[in-house]
């Protein structure tokens, strides 16, 4: 169906130059495209290359437009639609601060253990948990902590990598 909304994870390899992130964001906001999450970091220091991983949604025609518009930006090297191109791995990292005492504190610690989250800060009345997982797993964890004294959560957004030996 042409009008079905699809969610896509797109990886873009760009020159690490001042303003390139502003350019990509400006493209999305200027044309009314949706950014669900975006992460960026330098991946090749010698060649000054950065990788932007973004999650966007839209109809098939919009998704194709987004990729074409990204592709024609001058500092963009390559655009890969990881959702289209085959199986891929997606992960998010979250730092979650939970405060409480007594039963709620015990339950929070138990759930953290179940989710395989690490404790990176501990006081007698609070914890900061570090969790890596799929977006769904992180959503679930933060949701549960919400009922156990969640103070603050900080999330990175999705990074993704194709499975197999090929680049991207």
């Amino acid at each position: 169906m042409e009008n079905a909304i699809e969610k896509h994870t797109i990886a873009v390899l760009v020159d690490n130059e001042p303003g390139v992130l502003a350019r990509v964001i400006g493209l999305f906001s200027g044309r009314g495209y949706n950014i669900e999450s975006l992460t960026v970091a330098e991946v090749n220091n010698a060649d000054h290359l950065s990788r932007i991983t973004l999650v966007t949604s839209g109809t098939r025609m919009i998704i194709e437009q987004i990729k074409a518009q990204l592709g024609r930006l001058v500092p963009v090297h390559r655009v890969h639609d990881l959702t289209d191109e085959g199986p891929s791995v997606e992960r998010e990292l979250a730092l979650v601060k939970v405060a409480g005492t007594g039963d709620r504190r015990i339950e929070a610690l138990r759930l953290a253990d179940i989710f395989q989250a690490k404790v990176v800060d501990a006081t007698l009345s609070s914890f900061v948990f570090e969790l890596t997982g799929t977006t769904e797993q992180v959503d679930d964890f933060v949701g549960l902590m919400g009922q156990l004294g969640l103070v603050e959560a900080s999330r990175t957004g999705v990074v993704a990598m194709s499975k197999g030996p090929a680049a991207f």
Binding site: G19, E64, Q65, V74, P75
Partner: protein
Amino acid sequence: MSEQKLTGAQIVIKALKDQGVDIIFGYPGGAVLPIYDALFQQNDLKHVLVRHEQAAVHAAEGYARSTGKVGCVLVTSGPGATNAVTGLLDALCDSIPLVCLSGQVPTHLIGNDAFQEADTTGITRPCTKHNYLVKDVDNLARTLHEAFYVARSGRPGPVLVDIPKDVQFADGTYVPPAEVKHKTYRPQVKAEMARIEEAIELIANAKRPVFYTGGGVINAGPFAAKLLTQFVKTTGFPITSTLMGLGAFPASDNQWLGMLGMHGTYEANLAMYECDVMINIGARFDDRVTGKLSAFSPGSKKIHVDIDPSSINKNVAVDIPIVGDCGAVLEDMLRIWKARAKSVDKPALKEWWGKIEGWRSRNCLNYNRTESVIKPQYALERLREALRGKDHYITTEVGQHQMWAAQFLPFDQPNRWLTSGGLGTMGYGLPAAIGAQLAHPDAIVVDVSGEASFLMNMQEIGTAVQYRAPVKIFILNNQYMGMVRQWQELLHGSRYSQSYSEALPDFVKLAESWGCVGLRATTVAEVDQVIEKMLAVTDRPCIIDIAVDPKENCFPMIPGGKAHNEILFGPDDSPSDATPEDGMVLV
């Protein structure tokens, strides 16, 4: 040894010369004084001083479109750069190759709210193809050469280079253009052969074909226009063009259907609606052409040749997308057509032309000729006759006069028609005419204008006088912002809100105050006389004020939101059943 030590300002001058620039349009200011100093101390690069930075960009656009070269602009920081924004966006919308150099406050003051500081790269990011801020003088030469490369490659567009004042003063090394190659940006020029073969098959078997061409052919160069003409003549198919593509195919040829779109001819729009094969070369399915998208050319297979992949399948799904330069693709198409000894379906084509002749016979550009008032179409017809056989360039402002100029002035060659299509900028015509005139000193350059548009950049008369550019400003004065008034009449119950041109100057006295020739025509008989006098002036600008019928509306017209076969022909046609809501919101 390719390296030389020069100041940043000297590097700018040298880079421009090495890129083949001969004229730069600009306006000085504090942040750009070092470059102006370097300009003063040389004689190869000519600088044209405008009276407003917006006009510098429009003049560079007129220069670029009429020559095929990259236009060049120089403005100062802050207000100089922001004044150029409208012109830059205009160039982006119409794909005109430009390099705009802007001064900037010294690097250590950037971000400090310095005098005349603006975040130029931030402000111009969405209105340029690409922009640069040069913080190190040793990057300056490379950046400038890259800027020219980006401006002219792929789909052309404006590129801005922001140069801080301390970088202009600093000593740096110069590198020549040959040593500069862009790391990533390599637009695809040659198309996939498989696609071209597919397209040729479709074309050979077409029963009701039409060529739909646009600005992409103009940008591909005059040779592309020749190839297009050759291919169209070989096939014998009908051809129409967008506003931006006029002149690529000779209008005097019988296969020419006239411009298509909102104010295009009946035969052009209907041929597009009823065709079975639509061959789009260098056009982008703009909303002025498609009308209501869901009803656009429902039964046809579409071939789309475009150098910009993001243009393909953007609004209209096409069957055979071909990414490549129009000229290169046409060359391949012609070669394959001949190699495979292809021929067209002659009987089907004969029937199709019969239908088209039927539509033509409606004579959709007809208007009520009268002796009591000058009709704007009449004035343009007389201009057309007077210019026949003479080498001429036409620029326009924006509005009804622009549409009438497109309908009534024929073009047999590309790069002669300069108009603001995508952005529709009032105030474009006069500076663009100056740019074209300075590029072609011996040609006749006429700016077909409206009295409201003319006022927007009229200060540029001074520029034309200073550089002895004998542009002819042909004002179709109907005392209203004509196109706005027309829409208010048809869609807003004739509530003419703020569309009357109050407090107009006496255009003849205005011309004379600048030492130019001013002419006026108020009766039909005077039109030929003023045109003759206007063409006789060769050493200074000429303003011609032609008082035309204020009530004349521009037809044919496809009202906003309607399908492209729902056409109004004249004042007796009213938009049938109230214009749909989605039509009202369209500009």
